[in-house]
Amino acid sequence: MIVNRRILLEGTLSRGLQLLHNVLFKMKNHAHLVSTMQGQISQSRGASLTQIMSDEPQSIRREQYPSDRDWKETQRESCPFHGDHKELPPLAWTLIWRGTYSNQFGWVVEDDIRLWGYIMWDAARLEHTGAKEVLDRQWEARWKGYDPRNMLF
């Protein structure tokens, strides 16, 4: 993506969901969309979430401020699927990390997996729709059997 556009896109989306809602549901025509965006397009003033969740900041954070979650990952603490509950990891998560704890996020997961909201869905939906196989295929294409938790340090 062209640099300027990316910076403007990140800044504009960081204005929040009210603006997203407006452009999705409230626009009467093209001119209305243009005039709305005219007042809202803005360049980002800090790092994007993509940048924040990339590998380097995460390595720095681990090195400077190690957390209990890092420890649980190092120990490969058991983290199996125990049913769909708001407090518990969903099936998709336990599948990609093979039932042990992982404190990885962001750069390890490509957006093609996020586009269908892999982490949002219940086990039943993953099973019934064939999403489990899609996840398996996309994760395998990204990591080819390798465990990215072994890459750090």
């Binding site: 062209i2 300027n4 910076i7 403007l8 896109l9 800044g11 989306l13 204005r15 929040g16 969901l17 009210q18 603006l19 997203l20 809602h21 452009v23 999705l24 093209h30 001119a31 969309l33 243009v34 005039s35 965006m37 005219q38 007042g39 397009i41 803005s42 360049q43 003033r45 800090g46 979430l49 924040i52 969740m53 990339s54 380097e56 900041p57 720095i60 954070r61 957390s67 979650r69 769909d84 708001k86 998560w93 992982s102 990885q104 996020f105 962001g106 997961v109 996020r114 586009l115 269908w116 909201g117 982490i119 949002m120 869905w121 219940d122 019934h128 729709t129 196989e133 899609v134 996309q138």
Partner: protein
């Protein structure tokens, strides 16, 4: 910053009941005793509450007497465990916080939020909301979050169908799915309120000196990693949606009033040229500087 530390205030309307001025012989629901009517209203989710209050003058009167209590009950029903996230979004979205944010205030805000997440019973604090706060939170949830959850679901499951190549019936969201989607959107919004471009500012924006690792530590790190991935999914959705908007308004010789972001000099990105709507001239839209230049 004090986030939720207000004293518990007993609802002033606890004992206020409205006596129907007219007895409706064929309206058993309206002839119920006031206590039961009040209880009934407090049991309804927002759509039902709204419908009944609009349909019945008796219930409308009852609602007006007891609005703060009923809206807080309603918030507890619709938000459940997400109430703290929703309240943090409300507080961080206020103009006085947004335009005067500093690194220290943002850090203090997150500390207070994290504190309340770990100590408060999930939504008991809702009773302490003022009427204005309750109205604002209910409105944001029903007018923005709910439609976006629906749109997200339709969009994401549509993308899934493209991957599986099988069109199939997608059942309604489960409670757990709804919770994941709701908190993902609220937390993404919280991220925007804390670190993003202020929705109240058109021109000059604040610049924070947080390192990426600081944001990971003070904000992202308070969530479980799969919850961070929920936020990342909400972010991916938002990015896709705005990407389409950017495509729609991108400059082309045949479209009036469009944006030419791609040709602007990489080192002069404070200047974004807009082709002004309905005029032959080209307007210069300048972010972050007060200078205007002419462009031919």
């Amino acid at each position: 910053m004090e986030l939720m530390g207000k004293p518990y205030r007993k609802s002033a309307a606890t004992t206020a009941y409205v006596v129907p001025t007219l007895i409706h012989v064929n309206a058993p629901l309206e002839n119920l005793p006031a206590e039961i009517r009040r209880y009934l209203l407090s049991m309804l989710e927002y759509g039902g509450l709204r419908a009944l209050v609009h349909a019945s003058p008796v219930y409308h009167q009852q609602y007006l007497l007891d609005r703060q209590h009923l809206l807080c009950e309603c918030l507890a029903t619709i938000l459940g465990g997400d109430a703290i996230d929703a309240y943090a979004v409300y507080r961080s979205g206020l103009i006085e916080f947004s335009i005067s944010r500093t690194e220290e205030e943002i850090t203090r805000f997150i500390e207070a939020y994290q504190d309340h997440r770990s100590t408060l019973p999930q939504y008991s604090f809702l009773k302490t909301l003022t009427l204005d706060e309750a109205i604002s939170m209910v409105t944001f949830h029903c007018a923005v979050i709910k439609p976006l959850i629906q749109h997200y679901t339709y969009w994401a499951l549509g993308n899934l169908t493209k991957e599986t190549k099988v069109i199939q019936y997608n059942g309604p969201l489960s409670g757990a799915e709804e919770t994941r989607l709701t908190r993902a959107l609220y937390r993404f919004q919280l991220y925007c309120n804390l670190f993003g471009v202020s929705k109240y500012r058109v021109g000059c924006q604040q610049i924070f000196e947080f390192e990426d690792a600081d944001i990971l530590r003070i904000f992202i790190g308070i969530y479980e990693p799969w919850e961070v991935e929920e936020i990342a999914c909400a972010y991916a959705f938002t990015k896709e949606m705005f990407n389409q908007v950017f495509d729609d308004i991108r400059w082309s010789p045949t479209l009036q009033g469009t944006f030419d972001y791609d040709s602007a000099c990489q080192f002069c990105i404070t200047s974004l040229f807009l082709f002004s709507i309905g005029h032959a001239s080209i307007a210069l839209y300048c972010q972050g500087t007060a200078s205007n230049r002419s462009h031919e």
